[in-house]
Subunit: 349 residues, 4 copies
């Protein structure tokens, strides 16, 4: 890939001329409009591609190869942070965004209760699994389309955009029609057929790091999605596999500043899957905020002991509310405010 | 899942009656015919399923729940080793089976040269990638269908069944039509959409352990394939990710006796991907044989320095031949003979 | 080990009687005086020791075995947090304590400059290595006793108690005579000869977790020190070894709540060694504070590029000052205040 | 460090002149006499040391810096394999050497029974712990000097040199007086005080790799011993810590060819500690032999279920004998013969 850097103040027509010239050579050209200037990433088949005709076009300042192994996800291509708009919620901006909800959508009442409480506490996105990747073929696999529908309705009732996992390329369209963010799970982080499919979708994608995926591999997996045309990508660290067995996985909180140094994409942490034990989730949520993450994803359940999946790591409603209260002043100290809580008015109704 | 153990010598009609009784309750019943008796695995929706009517049928000795988390892949379900027949080569039997060939099929000459040399040295299966999973979207992705065709023809010319990777559920039929073994790569070991697709195929499947996959998770991933109806499954350990950086990955040779203790499926080791450096491959190949593996998979290339992928870990032809000569006496000591070498007659023709 | 729980309000004479009764049987008895009651840990040779005579003494409420594998370090033995007093600085109390200074004491000017700046920024403990454990025998090994002396003087001039590493049992007395906290390095976390030696010392000990040490093993290593008679122990997580290579090690921030749940000992994080790269240290320091750690240890240097060891991970003075400014409001949000900064008055003098 | 390469056939007096010239500059000079020529390693304080006067001496072919981070342990310094002589048994030569015996010396009868059986099966070195490093201070810590004495006597009665662990620098002389090989345990691999102490001993040392020690770190730890003057060092891989939990640790069999490529020191594998489960030990022992290790270390016990330590991984006598019978033909295939079995004559006496 080559980077074509336009001069500050280059005209739209000059930018268009560069893109058309590239396309005439069957090259993909992706513009990135920064505050001061526009750069255009040109995906070239090999290193010998000659772009000297582009270098001579009006408004072009420089044509240079990208040095990092990742291109479109890198800071070289785009210096300013990407802000993903998911149903009106901005992820990667000033606000620290809390996504929460149950591991699996189980019943209409369960997802409704979760949505109501998430919204009341200042959560902004509703999560809930409809298609569940399970290690064993004999475990509960989710409600499928019915789960999608229940999730969408509960989110709509409480003003919460939704996120849910998609596991099969053939289901991307179905999920994209009902949810606001498509989640790629940790097991599928290098499932290239699936990455290509969501790369063609028109909805934001949240890509979870695998249990043993290096940060470089995660960025390269995201590159598949951006190279496919979808630039609304959020990265999510959810714990890596180490020798330590006192928690389910080990939250790699350092991934936040490391990714921020290399990429413009927003980064979310998932303390629930990392810890695997609810009692450690609030401390990790606070650490995520203080480390500079753009948000967190938290599993909640009205009755964790009876959850069909991941009950051991789900917060009950009181613990979730207390955690949100702890986060708020840290968010202010960090200048990353959380949405205010809106206490439920008619708890007894 | 429940196990219905038939008495030794139970009649085929008795076995059939058990299966029909289960099916009448919408339960899946899978028979396993051992040397002494038949057992029938019954996949039940939950633990409360009542099989007391089955327990009373003629020829039934016992009905018991399976204790391990994996069912059809476990020794409880089938005590005798599974022998997979791949185009006439038996994997999991007495013979130590060597699969070899290039990482990627690159040209007709390259795959022909590999096939010829693999056969001459006593290799039994020809490997070659047509669809390549690559960490970066900008790396060489394989020749696709043309690669499948070249691989099949080279194998046929030299009497070698073939193995190649399939990455997308939609391509399973295409690959199954040309190759003798469908390979599921390490990155897709928990890609359940793909596991279900090859579970419906009629060709043997080799499932590679992921870099981050525990042995229990590998067996559960195989369970998806067997539960889908395909019992011709080979497991492959190819190195796990550890802190050690002097090799690409760390070959977990202990996986061989551990899997053998728990499962009846054949186990193959892949020293090439584990080491990532060709100079260490022969030592690991010998260790695999001595540890009790059913075979190995080795990357070879006529000119490793010019390989389009994985050149650093591919053996040149002389090294491969020398390695095979080292393995043969160990195979005899282990009573796991290799196929004899058939020296090329007309090297100069 | 057994726990003898005294009734609330038990008399000192009753407590003394329990201890003497145990000692008469050659058992070690260690009292822990809590806010509400006293418990006495009795180290028994085996599980069959009969303490029925103790159970009948006046003031004794209950005699029960300790269930966890660690005894004196556990919450069962002592519910309230241990506060370690190091030269007047309380670690494990309300204040979030920052220890800082160079990896190695190099020259009088260097350690003086560090001490002055650490104190000015609100740091409370001065670190500096005099005996350096180095992976290679040919690397700089520290100034030895001269380094101890320089460290002690610089600390005294700026009102900072000091911490430095001791590597050899024979040097414990020498180091204890000059430093306020004895540090056991990560490589020596299971060096039992050394743990026993510092167990007999009269100075606080900071025990660093090894790269390969589970939390349970760390607590058991601390148990050696407490069992030796020294209860002034601080634990320090400094990054564990994982597959990720973009940082030197992986900070296990979850260790903070996990240890707090199991042990009463204070916990410090060391972002410098965990990250190995200075640009990521401030984010990890903030995460440590937010996760509930009792303090952090940070490497600083007046000229990191010329440091004799660990320069890549040392903060220059401006970055350290900026980090302290970031921490302060988070400390207030967490009700874990840092000491105030005392700006240098005569910078130009 | 610098390498002074002498011409083939250089006179002893010329070699001596080089060493004396170095010593006159307070430099340590260590000769290595190869089959064809002598090289002299010169440990220099820093890179600027001027050896131009040495380069001009008669018989000197070349003076060059060592490029690898390890010097005396490296192949650059000594190309031919080091053969360690331990009480008459040669480790690193043609023979594949089996060390075996109990984890801990427990009673006179127990160690006598082990020694007798080890010798009868063709084992060559008797192992047995007298000072035991235990994770918990409350576990059995070994018989101490009495254990040393029992081990030495049992070995002597059956013609077996002995190996036992030393944990404290102050005990090196005591252990060296009774045992033929000093073992440094995995927890002490970077305990530099101890490495320096055994570096001054006159007995061979077996250095075990730590659970999370890279191969490079292991070689650098060995460098401490060689730099201290003791060149009789054996390296031992005993399993590394990974995410896999079905075995105690993961045997890194690849360490054998990797170390052999970089160092001239002999390499032993310890399948017992790696697997932690006796049923997997024989397969790993065979893999060790086939991979090119110079020997193995195996835990045996007359009654593993009653062992005071590590019973779960100790082989009973019949399993050990069967394992030795399996190894022998593989040793022949590898041209690494084992010592012959000498069946016990008077089993009933």
């Amino acid at each position: 890939m080559m980077i074509v850097t336009m001069r500050p103040g280059a005209a739209v027509s000059e930018i268009g001329a560069v893109i058309r010239t590239c396309q005439a050579q069957d090259l993909i050209a992706v513009p990135s409009h920064g505050a001061h200037r526009t750069v255009i990433g040109v995906v070239t088949a090999d290193r010998s591609t000659d772009l000297s005709d582009v270098a001579d076009l009006p408004g072009v300042e420089q044509v240079s190869p990208v040095s990092a192994s990742f291109k479109l996800v890198g800071r070289e291509f785009r210096e300013e942070p990407t802000v993903v708009d998911a149903g009106g919620v901005r992820i990667g901006g000033e606000e620290f965004v809390v996504m929460a909800g149950p591991c699996s959508v189980e019943t209409p009442d369960q997802i409704e209760a979760c949505a109501r409480q998430v919204a009341a506490c200042g959560g902004r996105i509703l999560r809930g699994g409809a298609y569940k990747p399970r290690t064993s073929p004999y475990s509960f696999q989710g409600l499928g389309e019915e789960g999608l529908e229940l999730l969408a309705r509960a989110g709509a009732r409480h003003g919460l955009p939704t996120i849910t996992e998609v596991m099969h390329p053939d289901l991307v369209a179905t999920v994209a029609a009902r949810a606001d963010i498509l989640q790629i799970g940790a097991r599928n982080v290098q499932n290239y057929a699936l990455l290509e499919a969501v790369g063609r979708a028109r909805k934001p994608v949240m890509l979870k790091r695998g249990l043993m995926t290096t940060i470089e591999e995660l960025l390269l997996a995201a590159e598949y999605i951006l190279a496919g045309g979808n630039r609304q990508v959020i990265l999510c660290e959810r714990g890596i596999r180490t020798f330590e067995t006192s928690t389910r996985n080990t939250l790699d909180v350092t991934a936040v500043p490391v990714i921020k140094a290399q990429s413009h994409l927003p980064v979310i942490l998932d303390p629930s899957h990392a810890a695997g034990l609810r009692e450690f989730v609030p401390a990790l949520a606070r650490a995520a905020l203080a480390a500079g993450a753009d948000g967190i994803m938290i599993e909640t359940h009205p009755d964790p002991a009876r959850a069909l999946s991941d009950g051991r790591q789900s917060l009950d409603f009181d613990t979730f509310a207390a955690m949100m209260d702890e986060l708020r002043p840290i968010g202010e100290a960090m200048r990353r405010p959380l949405a205010p809580a809106e206490p439920l008015e008619e708890e007894t109704a």
